[in-house]
Amino acid sequence: MNGKPKIGVYVCHCGTNIAGTVNVEEVVQFAQTLPDVVVARNYSYMCSDPGQALITDDIANMGLNRVVVASCSPRMHEPTFRKTLLSGGLNPYFLEMANIREQCSWVHDDPIAATEKAKRVVEAAVVKARRLEALDVKEVEVEPSCLIIGAGIAGIQAALDIADAGFKVYLVEKSPTVGGHMAQLDKTFPTLDCSACILTPKMVDVANHPNIELMTYSQVEEIGGYIGNFDIKVRKKSRFVDMDKCTGCGACAEECRMAGRIPNEFDEGIGMRGAIYLPFPQAVPAKYTIDKENCLFLSKGKCGESPKCKEACQAGAINFDLQDEVVEFKVGTIIVATGFDIFDARLKPEYGYGVYDNVLTALEFERMVNASGPTGGKVVMLERGKKKKKKEGEEAEAPRMPRSVTFIQCVGSRDKSVGNEYCSRVCCMYTAKLAHLVKDKVGHDCEVTIFYMDVRAFGKGFEEFYDRVRREGVKYIRGNPSEIYKKGDKLIVRAEDTLTATPLEHETDMVVLSVGLCPRSDNREIIDLLKLSQSSDLFYLEAHPKLRPVDTASDGIYLAGVCQGPKDIPDAVAQAKGAASAAMIPMASGKVKVEAQTSVVNEDTCRGCGFCVELCPFSAIELVEINRMGWPVKVARVNEALCKGCGACAAACLSGSIQQRSFKDLQLMPQIKALGVK
């Protein structure tokens, strides 16, 4: 099949994209003079059906065995033309593309110089094409199961879709309950659906679905393998409560000596819990968990005479000897849905968060307005750090409701000073929603003011909702406050109304900081496990911002939800459904093609230094011992199923012993020479 090269060169006009600058006729005439070129043609759109037919006809009639297409970047159309070669009966890797659009016509104005450059680029492709080799496209079997990391709304939705399609799902969640941040919310904008009402049925579904194996309070520890055959190791942390016996009655939590003394993470610290706890009443699974850092018995070895929770448990579910359990399984695909952290408002010290009791983050406020939250849905002035247990019979002083609430938008978003240039996309609307809820729950006479930079009401029903909230008497002031300080029992927000260029000092009872969404602080763990990339905002990077928004650079690994970038609930759900369907493609077909342009090691010259092993972003290379003329020596070996053909190893190899197929030194050097000074 390799034979003497017979090359066809096809120069694309790309409408006027190329032909407007480059004289394609002249390039074709030049190409005809190059060694081994049998035919050279030009056509308005090579990627069109008639364009591709030119190639297949020439393969059939002229016996071409190499094809050079001079057109656009290979990123889009290399797969197109590989298929053309395949349909013409050639090995698809006998294609070489010359990029005369992005790297020539689009970046040059002078037609004469651009045409000369296009000739060089075509010549370089021709000399490389002469040395191309046929490559085998290998297939691997795909395990019909999926690991989903994170059980917030995105993870839950993806799990349900995949499980409903009949594939096995392992849903791993770090915290004791599924639900994620959505479970913390009261109402959702712009429709004011109750978050719990729409989420909890799905939470119950993932727990009960026959195809879903739910692992809460668990963490993925190791991921090996490749698309179709990932090896997963998950640590199920001990809850010290027997999941099979616990009925979720809550008798234990009432008796815990630490009850009401530990800030409940789920309530953002506004509410308290004990050492044995259920994060919230609708938690799934409805099983209690002992937090071993705070449990007196587990951390100090002593809890009064004996642990009261254990005495209280009628089911005998509490067992302090329970150990972590490590489970191992195989999956074909992985969806990462690890969500986000909210911006740490302490990084904006001018707003006094953590200093003043009644400067809250929006998520704290959200817990407060939530009917199942720590205040039962009442908006009240907070006295932090003064939480004491109510004595028997003593009537607590009724907490005061604020008479005015002020929101500040873009806290930690669109703010270079904290390193977050991006817009968090949800704060404008959740602020409007919370403002509405203040009017609703505290009363219409409660004054609500929102400081904003811009209001971005871009989604379906958003603008209408924003209008509605303004009609309800919520006052919007354009300006970013510079400082908050306390005067008497009031908070003073110092700002400038930038629409009237008036400095102002705004007096208020309570300030709510509309904090943005940030990449999780523990993102690194997942990055190390999966070798994911990050975009400049440190969210996980998708394979292509427009056309592959749920894929990652690694085959078989997909992204869902805010871990890829800020999103509201419908967007997160849509992306989760997208990730689910992307993950189902290889599982449904049962086989995937793996990269053919992989690296290959010359074991005769490899010195086994392992540079490539350390460098390989896909862990595709390992050192193995071979026998070299009687001596045991270590050499690098590539796992072709894992290799993505990035070429990092080939570039780093000092002895040139590792080479990437289609990009071997022998193929590249004539190409470089053709581009060089003549």
């Binding site: 010259t605 010195r607 230094c609 392992g610 540079f611 070299r628 009687g630 001596w631 270590k634 040139g656």
Partner: protein, 327 residues
Amino acid sequence: MVDVNKLREKAKEVVSRDDVRMLIGYRPGTYGFRARPAFVQGPDEVDELIFTPACVNNLASYIVLEEKLPVPRGEEPDLRKVAVMVKGCDSRALVQQMEEKAYDRERILVLGIPCTGVVDMAKVEARFPNVLERGEIALEGDKFVLSTGGGKEEVAKEELLADKCLRCRYPTPLVYDELLDAEVARFADDDYSDIVELEKRAGAEKWAYWEEKFSRCIRCYSCRNVCPMCYCEDCVLERLNPQWMRRSVDVSENTAYHISRAYHLAGRCIQCGECQRVCPVDIPLMELNRKFYKDVEELYDYEPGTNAENPPLLSTFKVDDREDFIL
């Protein structure tokens, strides 16, 4: 100074061991004040061994350069340890070789020599030209004592000391099984003043400087052959297919050779200075290598050959690696 009797005794003990194949050490040269490597295979060969300030060679190179002849069918390869004497600087070559997995730690037995400095043989020969009879160099206090049959002469230490010793940060070996003398505390440091001077030059001036140096190169490959870090079985710079550089001796190909070699040593050169020492046409190769060494230290806070547990610098990537210098 290492006691020579103790050295020979230790050598005898080591080469007598069943698990040691040979010991690489030093013995007097054939003329003048020079010393040369000794490959000791049995206890009866240890009597010539020495260690003096004339022992400039980095013996770590021989561990990786020793040719592995095909093992005849039916025979087992000789996998016994190789024992080697190393100074502080040389020991870093061992560390770097092990970082690069050239061999496992248990394959070598290291006799460490805490070093108070070696001479620059060119300085010695400039001062005492044409000495053909065998002579000896010893360090006494802050003076080198050079003696031949004809007499003794004392020279201030810094006059003959090798340049690398004037900047030595690691006089005591960083890896050893046994130290042959008491540890030597750091007596010098490297401020890269020579490199800073070179960096100040304008581009054209630098080019003219190196063009002149490289035009002298006769492509004998001594620099590569002596280098403890150059041990690919099939050197890419000499390969014919594909041919990265022609073998012809001209300034263009010579430049390509030296620049490529310097890049291959970036983050790996441990500054033993052997390349420059053996260059027959006095190309200041260490200026190239030291420039990279300085960059690597400043950019990544990394010194090659100081910690065998570290992966080699340029085989790793961290998200928080500095990149402000990338164009």
